[in-house]
Subunit: 418 residues, 2 copies
């Protein structure tokens, strides 16, 4: 069973927004055994949308469309779908009732609807309306010529609720779906080609229904095994067998046996072992704390931390000595050591992470160019520090510093196990 | 001049990674007057890549391809391009030299290249090689049948360097390009349909070469005017004229006259006025600090802040009273007031922002359900607090809280102006 995702909106094609909807939808479809054949982003243009629909139905059985359902003039998805199916637009009572309900919630009291808002309840007459709990634009389900078309708003949380509440359950109920199983091995510290060389013979021996992909990202490589077929038990057994072979071969670089982030793997391990963590961030400016705290349950492990951008806050929040800062500079082994040990002492956690560096684009010197970063990790028993030299791009330096710090923390934590 | 972006990789189609490359490329192309007609994401599959190339060259003059250039078996873009152009693969000396250079840099000393690494230097014989300063996979430029094809790695920073260093300059040198000018007005606090209704007559009076788009996102709406044509002066005059009309009509909801984020608008204003800021974050866990510090020059304004996840850190870092926490709870007006005033006092900034809430999915109570958030903003003269009730999704609650807090800070800052 193949799907195609069409995202409609000039804002995607001029790069004003990143299309995060497609990846999210693709994940949800994969989980129920529907493969996405292609993702196409097209403009708010009648002919272009019609062409995209025609192309998509040649490739796929299910066409999921997002975007272009707003109340404004540049949003033309609805009338273009009506044209594509050769039907007219009619007012849908349920959708109109929903528009009124949303407005009542927004404004507190009921106010007369604007004409543009009422028009939100107009839909092609051949559709089944999908109620939008979070907005005024209804979603639409079409059965047409043995294909399924679903049109949803481009606003992510509106689309997400519709998918989870209605579209996924309805697809599962309607279709007979095969199984797809993914198994991801998260590794860090070794490059893609080193790993490929190390497991070449295992890769060559994979059965035809299992594919292996290498997904590198900022110091990490994910090894993803995907098995396709009808017999869930066979797929599970075989994928586990090969995952175990690869894991044994790759050894220490393996961080997790699931498709999770490195900070989530750390949180899982620390939660299981009843350990606590705090942070002291300079150049990452709260990014490490953010990575950790985006995960539910992080408060069991994470006490908090300091974002100590200025010299003064490094002193007052972390107890870094004034003379250390002036003698060695804020970006130095001495400072990061005092930062990480200060965090451990002041915030009373079992482990601490500290980073200080020059994220750029300014602030570099010949001795310490932009991209110079010191990372420290510490427990009551041990402090480890390391210097890194990343590149010239601020956002990348922030991300790479965070990953390097989490990597070092993971290694320090592993010493408990061994 | 029309372009199409093709991103190749199963990891996109199963939703394991979000395609951020396309938006970035589209922005760069737009800035030089090249419109992106379509973005297509296809799988690491020979026939599918061939089809995508054939379709793309029917729609566009320039086809930019990312992904599938890694050293491993699932990466087949290079040989598929050779097949598409009907040519063979040859070893490129410059590319081989670059592979050796990258390995010397990575390993410190020169080690013998693996066969898979040497193969990185094989390219279709009709291409011009684009050297990859950050990786081993070369980029490739093809002139074929009056169309330009460029193939680049999918790793974002490798692609970005190639685009900026080689592809954009070469496109500008090769093509005669029209002008596209965008003007974005950032608004907050009013909905899309309210704005559309308010400026309906201005929108109706727009000349045909100017398009208006509404781009809503989490409590903000961007109004984007785009003008297409040959005469830069006329485009600039007209777009400024209409931007001024819209700004006057929309009034207080306007935050910035450029396509920047709300925190960047705040940073610009605070920098111009020599003002300083600190943060005290509970439920956002460092996200507000991260938003601010991702911008170059933020250290002029931002001293730092506390990520006070635990009760203890709210007390020790911010001076929140123990009895306040136990009497009113961590998520209360009393606590957020002490947090924001504590940040102002302890961190010695002119302004401070504090947030405390229940991000979810757990931790809600009947009185304070998941999504309950208190935000406080303060200067020496004034503290303002406000309660919000967002939804049930953790990530969204974190983002909405941050935007709400920045909005409140912006309003407090505006009082200086008036």
């Amino acid at each position: 069973m193949l799907a195609e995702i069409i995202t409609i909106g000039d804002e995607i094609l001029i790069g004003q927004i990143v299309d995060t909807n497609s990846a999210w939808i693709a994940q949800k479809l994969n989980a129920i055994g529907i493969r996405v054949k292609q993702i196409s982003s097209v403009s708010d243009d009648r002919q272009h949308i019609l062409n995209a629909l025609t192309e998509a139905q040649q490739r796929a059985d299910i066409i999921l469309i997002t975007g272009g359902l707003g109340p404004t003039k540049d949003d033309i998805t609805k009338k273009t779908l009506a044209e594509y199916f050769g039907v007219g637009l009619i007012e849908n009572k349920e959708a109109l009732h929903n528009v009124e309900k949303i407005f009542r919630r927004l404004r507190g009291t009921f106010t007369e609807l604007l004409e543009v808002n009422k028009q939100q309840a107009l839909v092609p007459e051949n559709c089944e309306v999908i109620i939008n709990k979070n907005g005024t634009a209804p979603g639409m389900w079409f059965d047409h010529g043995r294909k399924i078309y679903v049109s949803m708003p481009g606003v992510p949380h509106e689309m997400m609720y519709m998918m989870e509440d209605t579209v996924i359950p309805k697809l599962k109920a309607t279709l007979k779906l095969p199984f797809i199983i993914h198994h991801t091995i998260l590794t860090a510290g070794e490059g893609e080609s080193y790993l490929a060389d190390k497991i070449a013979d295992i890769e060559d021996s994979l059965p035809s229904f299992i594919k292996l992909a290498y997904l590198p990202k900022l110091g990490q490589v994910r090894l993803r095994l995907s098995a396709y077929g009808d017999d869930e038990t066979v797929l599970k057994d075989k994928i586990n067998e090969y995952a175990a072979k690869i894991t044994e071969r790759v050894g220490n670089a393996v961080i997790a046996q699931e498709d999770i982030s490195i900070e989530k793997a750390i949180l899982n391990f620390m939660t299981e072992n009843g350990l606590t963590l705090s942070t002291a961030e300079s150049c990452t400016g709260g990014y490490i704390a953010h990575l950790i705290t985006q995960h539910p349950g992080s408060s069991k492990v994470f006490f908090g931390g300091a974002v100590s951008y200025s010299y003064e806050l490094k002193e007052s929040m972390l107890g870094v000595k004034n003379e250390t800062l002036w003698q060695y500079g804020a970006v130095s082994e001495e400072t990061v050591t005092e930062m990480v040990e200060g965090a451990l002492l002041n915030f009373k956690s079992d482990y601490a992470v500290a980073v200080t560096g020059i994220a750029g684009p300014d602030g570099g010197t010949p001795d310490k160019p932009v991209g110079t970063v010191w990372v420290g990790v510490a427990s009551a028993d041990k402090t480890v520090t390391k210097r890194f030299l990343f590149g010239s791009k601020r956002q990348q330096n922030i991300e790479r510093t965070a990953i390097a710090a989490l990597n070092m923390l993971n290694i320090l934590l592993k010493e408990i196990k061994n």
